[in-house]
């Protein structure tokens, strides 16, 4: 006892103690491993259940996120349209959702969910907060068909803001829009803004149509041509505004018939 208290057995006791601890550790770890092995099936069942519940929860939350993102997108579009209509108080607008497109790919028309019941009439211009979309071509009680400015049969009288020159904007089969009838002597540059001129009475003046991206001028042509990048993304049209206080003028009786 005296030797032990004097520290003479400390080396031996350390060896013994560490051996005991290692042995206990070995037993303990094996026991825990065995316990895990025996209780594992129960845990796996619980985990699978929890996993399934969590997966369901994730799916629900993802659906909510998609729904909310959609609502945010719609709200942003509506807010932009409200801003646009406030900026032009002289016009009265009726918002409409795009619910379909023309069944034939040769034509660029969209169908909107507002019709004569909402005061929509044939010929009314259709815009978004970005710019001109087209005009109403046909109307029924609760829907209307809108001819886009990209339609091959569409023709809009426009003017180039910088060049102060008037021209005619036509659609095409590919959905591109082109400026025609630009006089050879006028200077048209890339980036020039294209706006409706109001000539012909089909559209109100000063609606933004797009920007010139390419000018084609050949000496042997009577007029210059220019490709225009429309400000409206026609592939993503969701909500549009119909200008309901604009009355288009039919000037066709003024032209002599052969």
């Amino acid at each position: 006892m005296a030797l032990a208290l004097g520290g003479y057995f400390s080396g031996t006791s350390n060896v013994v103690t560490s051996s005991l601890i290692n042995t206990q550790e070995w037993f303990s770890s094996r026991f825990v491993a065995l316990q895990d092995l025996l209780t594992a099936p129960r845990d796996i069942t619980t985990l699978r259940q929890q996993n399934s519940e969590l997966q369901n929860e994730v799916a629900d939350l993802q659906a909510q996120v998609i729904q909310l993102q959609q609502q945010v997108g719609e709200t942003q579009v509506l807010a932009a349209l409200v801003d646009f209509s406030r900026a032009r108080p002289e016009n009265t607008y009726k918002a409409a959702a795009v619910i379909g497109r023309d069944p034939s790919p040769f034509l660029y028309y969209v169908i909107i969910n507002r019709g004569s019941n909402d005061g929509i009439l044939r010929g009314m211009p259709v815009v978004t907060d970005q710019g001109l979309v087209g005009r109403v071509d046909a109307v029924i009680a609760d829907a209307a068909r809108v001819q886009l400015i990209t339609d091959p049969a569409s023709r809009v009288n426009v003017y180039l803001q910088n060049a102060e020159e008037e021209a005619s904007l036509v659609g095409s089969l590919t959905g591109d829009i082109t400026l025609e009838l630009i006089p050879q002597d006028s200077i048209v540059e890339t980036g020039d803004l294209v706006l409706t001129s109001g000539l012909g009475g089909g559209y109100p003046p000063d609606l933004i149509v797009g920007q010139v991206v390419n000018v084609r001028s050949r000496d042997f042509d009577l007029f210059q041509q220019a490709t225009v990048q429309p400000v409206v993304d026609f592939n993503r049209l969701q909500i549009v505004l119909v200008i309901v206080n604009f009355k288009p003028v039919d000037i066709s009786p003024l032209f002599p018939t052969p």
Partner: protein
């Protein structure tokens, strides 16, 4: 009485065409579900209402589209006529007949629309119309013709139960 199923089926086809299929584009073209449906219906044996379906679908498509309503009516009637002729020639391989009708019918319909647009004064380059519209449209219609044919065949068996007993 079962023939009345044509009404909801045709309306559904035109709605799907206008709202969904017209947004799935390849180059500038997209598939034509009403055309494929009419072709598949006309190819079924015992079916004698294909002409009625063609007129009804044509009128409805003409109503939704900016093209003159008579154009799709005439085009769909021509497709039915083509299908009836082919049905007699390749009656042992209905799917082959379906592919042939999808191919020829697309070209026929597009030719009618192109002609109508040219007559009304719309200038469209033929090369663009063929390369950007008709060719991709033909491919999409060929792809669409397989599932549509299967669905329409089941529908025809339901409308004309005698087909199953033979």
């Amino acid at each position: 009485m079962r023939n009345l199923i044509a009404v909801p089926v045709i309306i559904l086809a035109v709605i799907l065409q206008s709202s969904i299929i017209s947004r799935v584009t390849l180059l500038s073209g997209y598939a034509d579900l009403p055309l494929i449906m009419i072709a598949a219906w006309a190819l079924q044996e015992h079916v004698d209402t294909a002409w009625h379906w063609a007129v009804a679908t044509g009128v409805l498509v003409g109503f939704a589209s900016g093209i003159y309503w008579i154009v799709p009516v005439v085009a769909y009637l021509a497709v039915v006529a083509l299908a009836k002729v082919l049905q007699l020639r390749v009656w042992q391989a209905p799917l082959l007949a379906m592919f042939s009708i999808a191919f020829l019918g697309t070209i026929l319909l597009d030719a009618f629309v192109y002609g109508a647009l040219r007559v009304s004064g719309v200038s469209i380059p033929l090369r663009d119309a063929f390369g950007l519209q008709t060719l991709p449209r033909t491919l999409l219609n060929l792809l669409l013709s397989i599932p549509v044919y299967a669905v329409i065949r089941d529908l025809a068996r339901w409308v004309y139960p005698t087909m199953e007993t033979e």
